[in-house]
């Protein structure tokens, strides 16, 4: 299999969501022979980025938190180590500070290729208040974020749906191509039928990009409806898709005032796993 993912990051909070994310990450690691990094961030603004070994020298209350987390992380590593059957390994790291900042730093420093996060069923608080919301993480790190629910734990991605807006999302297409080649999947390019000519044009262009990069099967569809996120979800359910690839643009926010207010991205409403890639890294700069 092509080794295009080298390092996967799973932010761990020791809840059931982390378990889903780790299970999915193990599937991916076994498929791509890559490493998994289980990272827990103890939220405290007082101390900077410290290594796990140094936790014992900190004041009592922080040290307890760090100690507990360290024990739990080590136990996790020991449990999941045996699930890795490719060439990869499981690394654990304990960080301190602002969650999203620390994760972003870690992602950059250790060159993560994908972040896998678990989503709970009711995620309003998570998406409104959480500092590691998917859109923030994707924007801050330029790394794709895969959101998983318990229902999304299929071990393959045979049908990948890629919704298109008016721009060619090169990075998403590249990632879809790589994953589709690896899982022998079909990519479904979908776009809203707002202006039939423009839609056809964007679908054709995206198709041409994929065909330039690979020989994977691709199907193009024009979707009815006014909201891309909603139409994509409906389409994905209809075809039993295994993965959706979106970006954190407003086009991918579910319809309705409340959803807009709380920035309810497609990933939060989907039982199907969704990979979110930041729009800023989708286009290329001209020198």
């Amino acid at each position: 299999m092509p080794k295009t993912f080298y390092n996967l990051l799973v932010p761990v909070d020791f809840t059931v969501k982390s378990k889903w994310a780790i299970s999915k990450a193990i599937d991916l690691a076994n498929n791509f022979n890559c490493n998994i990094h289980l990272v827990h961030v103890v939220s405290s603004e007082i101390f900077p980025f410290i290594p796990i070994e140094a936790s014992s020298i900190f004041p009592y209350d922080i040290a307890i938190d760090l100690d507990n987390a360290r024990v739990k992380l080590e136990a996790m590593r020991d449990t999941y180590r045996h699930h890795i059957c490719g060439g990869g390994s499981i690394e654990i790291s304990l960080l301190q500070g602002n969650k999203s900042e620390q994760l972003a730093k870690y992602i950059e420093q250790y060159e993560m290729d994908l972040v896998v996060v678990g989503l709970s069923r009711f995620n309003l608080i998570h998406r409104v208040l959480s500092s590691v919301s998917i859109s923030k993480l994707a924007r801050k790190t330029n790394v794709p974020v895969l959101a998983i629910r318990s229902s999304g734990l299929v071990s393959h991605f045979k049908k990948i749906v890629l919704p298109l807006t008016s721009e060619i999302p090169v990075r998403r297409l590249q990632l879809a191509t790589m994953m589709a080649r690896s899982y022998r999947s079909t990519v479904y390019l979908v776009s809203l039928r707002k202006d039939a000519n423009a839609t056809e044009n964007i679908l054709n262009k995206a198709l041409e990009v994929i065909q330039s990069l690979s020989t994977i099967p691709v199907q193009c569809f024009m979707l009815e409806g006014k909201n891309l996120a909603k139409s994509t979800l409906e389409f994905s359910k209809r075809i039993n898709a295994d993965l959706i690839m979106a970006n954190p643009l407003t086009e991918f926010i579910m319809p309705g005032f409340w959803n807009k207010l709380t920035r309810k991205l497609l990933s939060y409403d989907s039982k199907i796993p969704v990979i979110t890639i930041d729009k800023n890294v989708e286009s290329n700069p001209v020198n």
């Binding site: 299999m1 092509p2 080298y6 290329n284 001209v286 020198n287």
Partner: protein
């Protein structure tokens, strides 16, 4: 009594002293310098020094040696290299003595030296397997030889690095009396490491093909197994050594390093532009197209093709950028669907580490019109792109060879043929490209004809 034959190519610095050294010896009645179309003053200097100079029609040491033998007037011949200065005082006498005394028919000169990697790693192990009788020779690849014209007339010469070992094997098979003579210490230039691969290949080919001819096409299982073991072990060591590289920069050749396309320039000079355009418009299969385009070059010599390549300007700062990238620890290469003759020439010119391209076939230095498509261009179930014939497959091959992850590769290309490789590289660059889709796919577009901005990505 003795003829000294000296095959040369661009050796103006040393040839005068070598010819003078030969003529000083009273045994030598004739010195023939066979020039392989030097671009410097080798010919004039050799003539002035008193040698008979002939220009070889076709490039290659083997053919030059044959040309020299053809016009020589003496039965006893000595071959010396034109780039060694000084030779030990008694070189000629030592080489000639066993011939004059009729103790031998062929002499191999050996010398204490400061190089010999292919001898130790390739030639000697292979000789031990295929010709145990020759395994005792300390320098089987030495080009300093002497022998009787009547014996040389009976054998065919390889026209590459395999020439010296080929002669030794043929003499051995003809049961000529062979003697090894030590002539002292010679300061011999080590070959650059890029040349060692070619030399190893040609020396191996000479040894194995002679063995196959002797055993009517058969090589026994044990011999294959031994060669495979040596090869595997060497490979392992090399991979360990190469694993220090973690980053790579690849360029396409046409319209990227070169400010033009090699085949278009050939078409313009040799007048087949219309045919070429016709082929391009009608033939959509890239493999058949490559083969049919190669046919248009049938009959052209290596020199002619290299001259055409030499006429195409390069991007001015390419050498400087390659140097900078190497300083930063990058391995650098060319991947092109043009021909290895040209990409290798260019690779040497810019100082890159390797080049992958199709191999135009030559017989006696003349293009046969055939082209070999190397296996690294072809897809496998492991290919990242799945295309049957694609530069990305070659990139993947290079990545595996040098232990570089795809995401650490920078690739610069210019046209639709490069979309895949540029799209799969960690940082793909559309270089002065008019292909809209390539510009869309690429991580960065460079519009001006300079690679300076590539350094900011490295």
């Amino acid at each position: 009594m003795l003829t000294v034959i000296i095959p040369v190519l661009n050796e103006e610095k040393t040839i005068h002293n070598v010819v003078t050294f030969c003529l000083k010896n009273s045994l030598v009645t004739e010195v023939i310098v066979v020039d392989d179309k030097s671009e410097d003053n080798t010919v004039e200097i050799a003539r002035k020094a008193g040698a008979t100079v002939i220009i070889s029609e076709v490039r290659g040491k083997g053919i030059s040696m044959k040309d020299g033998i053809k016009i020589s007037r003496n039965e006893l011949l000595i071959f010396l290299d034109g780039d060694i200065d000084p030779y030990p005082e008694n070189t000629i006498a030592d080489l000639a003595k066993p011939l004059i005394d009729d103790e031998a028919d062929f002499i191999k000169g050996t010398f204490a030296r400061n190089a010999g990697r292919v001898t130790e790693l390739v030639a000697k192990p292979l000789l031990t397997i295929f010709y145990p009788g020759l395994s005792g020779f300390t320098q089987p690849l030495s080009g300093m030889i002497a022998g009787k014209k009547s014996f040389f007339d009976m054998i065919d010469f390889f026209n590459d690095y395999g020439v010296d070992i080929g002669i030794l094997i043929d003499m051995y098979l003809m049961q000529a009396r062979i003697k090894e003579v030590n002539i002292g210490y010679i300061e011999n230039k080590s070959k650059p490491w890029e040349a060692l691969g070619k030399m190893s290949k040609e020396v191996s080919k000479a040894i194995i093909s002679r063995s196959q001819r002797r055993q009517s096409g058969q090589i026994n299982e044990e011999e294959i197994h031994s060669v495979e073991t040596i090869n595997r072990e060497m490979n392992k060591i090399l991979r360990e050594k190469l694993s220090v590289f973690h980053k790579m920069v690849i360029w396409d050749m046409d319209d990227t390093i070169l400010k033009g396309r090699f085949i278009d320039e050939c078409a313009r000079i040799y007048g087949f532009t219309a045919k070429l355009e016709d082929l391009r418009s009608k033939e959509k299969d890239p493999i058949i197209l490559t083969k049919r385009i190669a046919l248009l070059l049938e009959g052209r010599t290596m020199d002619e093709l290299l001259q055409v390549a030499g006429q195409i300007a390069m991007v001015e700062d390419i050498k400087e950028v390659v140097k900078e990238l190497k300083k930063k620890g990058y391995i650098t290469g060319i991947i092109s669907h043009s021909y290895s003759l040209i990409t290798n020439y260019l690779r040497q010119k810019i100082g890159a580490d390797f080049s992958y391209a199709n191999q135009l076939e030559f017989f006696d230095g003349i293009a046969t019109g055939e082209v070999n498509l190397p296996s690294y261009f072809f897809g496998s179930p492991e290919s990242v792109c799945g295309h049957a014939y694609c530069k990305t497959n070659a990139l993947q091959y290079a990545c595996e060879k040098y232990n570089v992850p795809l995401k650490n590769c920078i690739v610069a290309g210019d046209n639709s043929d490069d979309r895949c490789i540029v799209g799969h590289a960690g940082k793909g660059i559309a270089f002065c490209s008019k292909d809209e889709l390539l510009n869309t796919i690429a991580f960065r577009n460079i519009q001006e004809s300079s690679f300076q901005s590539l350094l900011s990505l490295a």
